[in-house]
Point group: C2
Chain length 470, copies 2
């Protein structure tokens, strides 16, 4: 490794950063990673399990900062009466462990000076999160307490970890993270299914919605900052109660100036997902421990992303042909213009992620650029859907129409109010730039990497038709 | 500097991270930092200014990735006819510069092979962003184009930079970043001024609002993950059109378990703000260049944060007394229970940030813990407002009532529906933990550090009464 002076300087800054001392008390994560045997420490957390034998007692303590429990050994005849779910503080000596599968433990002998334990928060008799593993269906009925389970907490830590990786990835690529509006008077997709603000007319003097996609707004920002991204809530008032839909979800969206070739957008999307997945694989122990799903499944999902040098690309037209070949003569064939159903998408992605490109123009929104190979008989646009195994669509993107006349013509065809969108079309008259971008459903991405199958469990308070607990 | 093996390993990982190669074309930021003299490069951006003399022409090119313009020198008799605002691509040789105040320049002589320029996007005759500096008032009438100005773009880059620093800071402190809901049926402050979702009754089978603060929800998450934070949109339907208010704004909120002492919360808040400000000071050139405000003002704001070892703390009661001493005998005195007005806050913070603590209980929401020094005659709560010079309140936090009976009693006093809040109160019956947290208005923080005075300019598409452009 050839380290230049510049790199050394960057490294030094990073080291200083990592050396910053917390003003808060040590967490269980901190103790497990940094405390030294022989140290007298205090550990605080909630009781995950208790076991007793004759002159010794064991306690698994968790505080949610890591998937690993802190093991406490009570070296005393009179065992503390502790129950699962209680929040406790234990003072004792941090020591090398004799137990299997762990290297350190907290030894507490209340007869010794500075050794002690106390209950900080008691639990009710019917505390619902007992040691035995609990079904997701049951946990969903506990909007405040379910977060304490190992599996659900691990989803949130994974989510937070992946966001950090995205921050790093986009910084490396000279992007600016931006905050487009949630309340908007422009309806991106030109379709219904939006939530409206009740007070709009009085308060804003016009009808306003919750955004369904921030794309139009971040296009304006990409014209100014070159490359922008956002990770922000989006809303769709769709009446679909599936494991893949939320009506309040987070979306990662990016817009990139000076992209003239769809392949460049595909490469960037692939790089982004591989970058964050590789970071996850580096830390796999932390994220596999505590997850209730089978380790092999989780690892095979990660491997599906990284194993190929380059994910396959296939045009929509080729995909239709490919799917038709598999059909019996008696079955109806797919035709140009037909939607790919979830079963089609899953089949196309059965061996790993795949980009399906160049969909028929009539199936897609007004802002997409025509395909590089454009056939007026079968008009297509320069776009992609990224399909993932088990999931179908994970992300979608396109080059954007950057020519004023073409854009206005397309808006007319889609029945849009051109005057209302004047702020958007003006970008094409004032230093327009060829550009493209994409959006990725953040819960779908987290769910895929977690090994789980329901987006409703990776967001703490899910919103869906009839579902708004707390 | 004593580098342990663990630290070396972390540093190595960081270096690998920084070495990740982009799949995209180089930006102006990249060229200025990494291109080597003698290289043939292509630079793309929009024209900031053009100057011509006899056999030479100068062009300032910007692409928004950095505050520094890339200087192009046209070494040719026939000067290109370029205009401010056009998007152009210039190919030429990256070279040491003879000009003042710059070290490198792009030399383009279209007679030489591989040297060329072309216009990618033209501008209209009345392109509004000419070289001469433009008033903020005028820029606010250009919802799509204003982002291209140096000053406004620098606000966004600053904002993005500060978010990265916060990610780092909270990771160092073992926090998990969480995504509490935007649509909620619980109204945090127990007060009106919320936006309602028009479709609530049909869609969610109850009345739902846009969140005014995520605190109650992230308290539930802090009980599970120990320490959580979020940076998320919040909404207030307040009819106040000031330089300090938005009705859609971003809020940084944090909740921390096992905080039993208000001072700990103050220390942590101070540490967070100083950490990110120091990172900014390290990079001051990048963030001072292009900002239209006076450099001294900006630097003095930063210095106000970092110059004191510890910011002063003063109780509300002492603050009232202090302010009363300054009043003439003829003036009315402040009494316990009176609000501090903005003018009071600015006076208290005239020399730098100051924490005002322990406000009267009746002025604050239901969830706050009683003060450590509690006087039943003058009941106060363990809370703080953080006041900043020129701005007044920037952040506010408190310890939270973690005892079930006390909490329910307080809810009754505040006229709240205890049954509706069952999901929240149950946290106090199942392993309750003493905890505290705070919220900080993100636009106020960015505005303060930017040297500017209006929160509406640091968010790309501001929302306020009567204001919802684009």
């Amino acid at each position: 490794m050839n380290i230049t002076n510049q790199a050394k300087c960057v490294i030094k800054k990073r080291f200083v950063r990592l050396a910053h001392k917390s003003t808060l008390n040590p967490t269980i994560k901190h103790h497990l990673a940094k405390s030294e045997p022989g140290e007298l420490i205090e550990a605080r957390g909630f009781v995950k399990s208790v076991r007793k034998s004759k002159n010794i007692g064991f306690l698994d303590l968790a505080d949610g900062t890591t998937s690993e429990d802190l093991k406490v050994v009570f070296q005393t005849k009179e065992q503390p009466k502790l129950r699962v779910g209680q929040t406790v503080a234990v003072n004792g000596e941090w020591a090398e462990s004799k137990g299997k599968g762990q290297t350190r433990e907290l030894r507490c002998n209340p007869q010794e000076p500075q050794h002690s334990y106390r209950i900080i928060g008691d639990v009710e008799e019917d505390y619902p999160l007992q040691k035995k593993s609990t079904s997701m269906q049951f946990l969903r009925t506990l909007p405040a307490l379910k977060h304490r389970t190992s599996t659900i907490a691990s989803f949130y830590r994974l989510r937070s970890f992946l966001e950090t990786q995205m921050i790093d990835f986009f910084n490396i690529n000279d992007f600016t993270k931006v905050t487009p509006p949630i309340i908007t008077s422009s309806d991106c997709e030109g379709a219904g299914e939006t939530f409206k603000i009740a007070e709009s007319a009085n308060f804003f003097e016009k009808t306003t919605y919750l955004t369904v996609s921030t794309q139009l707004h971040i296009e304006a920002l990409a014209m100014a900052l070159n490359r922008v991204w956002t990770l922000t809530p989006c809303f769709r008032a769709e009446n679909s109660n599936t494991t893949r839909h939320l009506c309040e979800f987070w979306m990662l969206e990016a817009e990139i100036s000076h992209v003239e070739d769809l392949e460049q957008l595909l490469n960037f999307t692939e790089d982004m997902i591989k970058y964050s997945t590789r970071k996850l694989i580096d830390l796999k122990k932390e994220y596999l421990r505590g997850v209730y799903l089978e380790e092999e499944l989780v690892q095979s999902r990660w491997a599906a992303i990284t194993k190929q040098e380059k994910w396959p690309r296939m045009t929509y037209t080729d995909a239709i042909e490919y799917l038709n070949k598999l059909r019996k003569d008696s079955e109806e064939k797919l035709e140009f213009g037909d939607s790919l159903l979830l079963e089609h998408e899953k089949y196309l992605a059965k061996d790993g992620p795949i980009f399906i490109t160049d969909y028929p123009a009539e199936m897609k929104p007004f802002y997409m650029l025509k395909s590089a190979k454009f056939d007026p008989e079968k008009p297509t646009v320069a776009c992609y859907d990224l399909l993932f195994p088990d999931f179908g669509e994970l992300a979608g993107g396109s080059l954007r129409e950057h020519n004023y006349e073409e854009l206005v013509e397309s808006m007319g065809k889609h029945g849009m109010d051109v005057e209302e969108m004047d702020w958007y079309t003006t970008l094409r008259k004032n230093g327009t730039i060829p550009h493209g971008g994409f959006g990725m459903g953040w819960e779908r991405f987290v769910t895929y990497l977690s090994g789980h199958d329901n987006v409703k469990d990776v967001i703490p308070f899910p919103r869906a038709p009839g579902l708004c607990r707390a």
